[in-house]
Symmetry: C2
Subunit: 290 residues, 2 copies
């Protein structure tokens, strides 16, 4: 029997606080003139729930609030959202892994009242990609690396609902025999995946590109860095060129659903993977609550 997804709808109060109320995830809940649906005008987070525990929740909520601020949305009532995530996760039939999606939209056009919800459901089965690795294409994002400074109105660095190009890039990769994508700036900076963070290992040094490039600060990457430091390695937030990806000892794409996926080829060229390290990293992400 498939388990039922759990949905809590946000009910904002005039004083800036929010309460959450259970609702039917399989029934319609949004109006067609909600700006989330007509303009992708809102922000979201996807939180891994492992063994019933939301992972990196404080980091996710911090990023959720920063995204909301970049879109001039009302500041989310972080304590209420955290509570809702815990309650929704607890209300779901137990599973080793679940996803909690937090969404805040600008609401019904003209209402001035944001729409929000927490949706908990089983994610896809990522066993194959976690174990066998993924084939990745480097694709142009067509933005310069200083896009955030030059053009803040483009919302780079905010996790918005306007993700059509991210899903289009993934479809492009699949149509070309790959699983995933690493975006590259016009001036050659490695950016991020359409829904993942790039992690490169050079000997005992673990590197991820900086948010200043207009990319998200990865929540799973932060957890991976904590693990790497725990084993005595060095971690570094630094710019990477595509050539750096070709000389790294190993590459991963990190995200809340799939957690860690080893990159086994880049643009069709095989890349070394490290099964022992992947097992150790994935074990950390699947067991250590933080």
């Amino acid at each position: 029997m498939p388990s039922s997804p759990v949905l809590f709808l946000a009910v904002p109060a005039a004083d800036g606080t929010t309460t959450f109320t259970p609702a039917d995830a399989l029934a319609p809940q949004l109006r067609v003139d909600d700006l989330g649906a007509t303009r992708g005008d809102g922000v979201f987070e996807s939180v891994a729930v492992v063994g019933g525990t939301p992972q990196g929740l404080a980091h996710h909520l911090d990023r959720f609030a920063r995204s909301a601020a970049l879109l001039d949305l009302p500041a989310p009532d972080t304590a209420a959202w955290a509570d809702a995530v815990h309650r929704a996760a607890a209300a779901h039939e137990p599973r080793p892994e679940l996803l909690a999606k937090l969404v805040l939209t600008r609401g019904v056009e003209g209402s001035g009242v944001p729409t929000g919800w927490v949706h908990v459901f089983p994610g896809a089965d990522h066993t194959e990609q976690r174990t066998a690795g993924i084939d990745v294409l480097a694709l142009e994002r067509a933005y310069p690396s200083d896009v955030v400074v030059r053009a803040p109105w483009l919302l780079q660095g905010a996790k918005t609902l306007s993700y059509a190009l991210n899903t289009a890039a993934l479809r492009y990769a699949r149509a070309h025999g790959a699983h995933d994508v690493v975006f590259v700036s016009t001036d050659g900076d490695v950016l991020e995946g359409p829904n993942s963070t790039v992690l490169a290992r050079f000997a005992d040094r673990w590197v991820t590109p900086p948010p200043e490039l207009g990319i998200l600060d990865g929540t799973t990457q932060a957890r991976a860095f904590a693990w790497a430091r725990g084993r005595g390695d060095r971690t570094e937030v630094a710019r990477l060129g595509v050539d750096d990806l070709k000389t790294a000892d190993a590459l991963w794409l990190l995200s809340s659903g799939r957690l860690s996926a080893p990159v086994r080829s880049l643009d069709g060229v095989p890349r070394p993977t490290d099964a022992a390290l992947q097992a150790e990293l994935l074990h950390h992400l699947l067991t250590v609550a933080d």
Copy 2:
């Protein structure tokens, strides 16, 4: 008494045809896991309905189908959508101007069934901006002019639901004392507004930038070109630099809701407007069914 918006929901059949059924526009109609709401993964059109008649509908439906194809969405049943727009417009309480919004999303995640609707409602009152004109900022879109060729996965030229940056650019303009925006490429090409098409007049020559730049072919602009040719002027689809905007005899931003808005300043510098021509153009857009 405010009039009630009219909503028709698409019911796709297995053979590729679609029927439409009336629904309550003020009640929830979309699930929270509709990819239109969670990913901005869908396409739309906004059609002016003037005196009960949808304007430029064939052009809108053609663009709707092209946007859907760029997103690998199923081809819309164009005849059924046209019929639904006519029926929804007729079902609305008569108004001089209405808007019909056509939306097609990838549907509930995992369902493989797209979600679609036609929503007819009164638009905003644009009298002030049509008459007094608008103050416009030129803002970087941060893409090169050949983005479509270089990076088709970025979906430039498709009218997608992922419009958060378009609304953000408009908020930026308003926060800086302007009404609207003209986007410019990194290599200096004038592109389009966040939800409008640029029209420049040089003596008896009317110019708009080409869709090859990754912009939409404007439906209102096409109607304006028909009007210009009807009065014996020349029309041209050609690249424009920001300097060209400074030497044009007059500038407009064109869109389905506001129709034609004269640009009275660009980046704070006053620009000449032509009240007689604006009145003539707007009269055409408000009276000639095409």
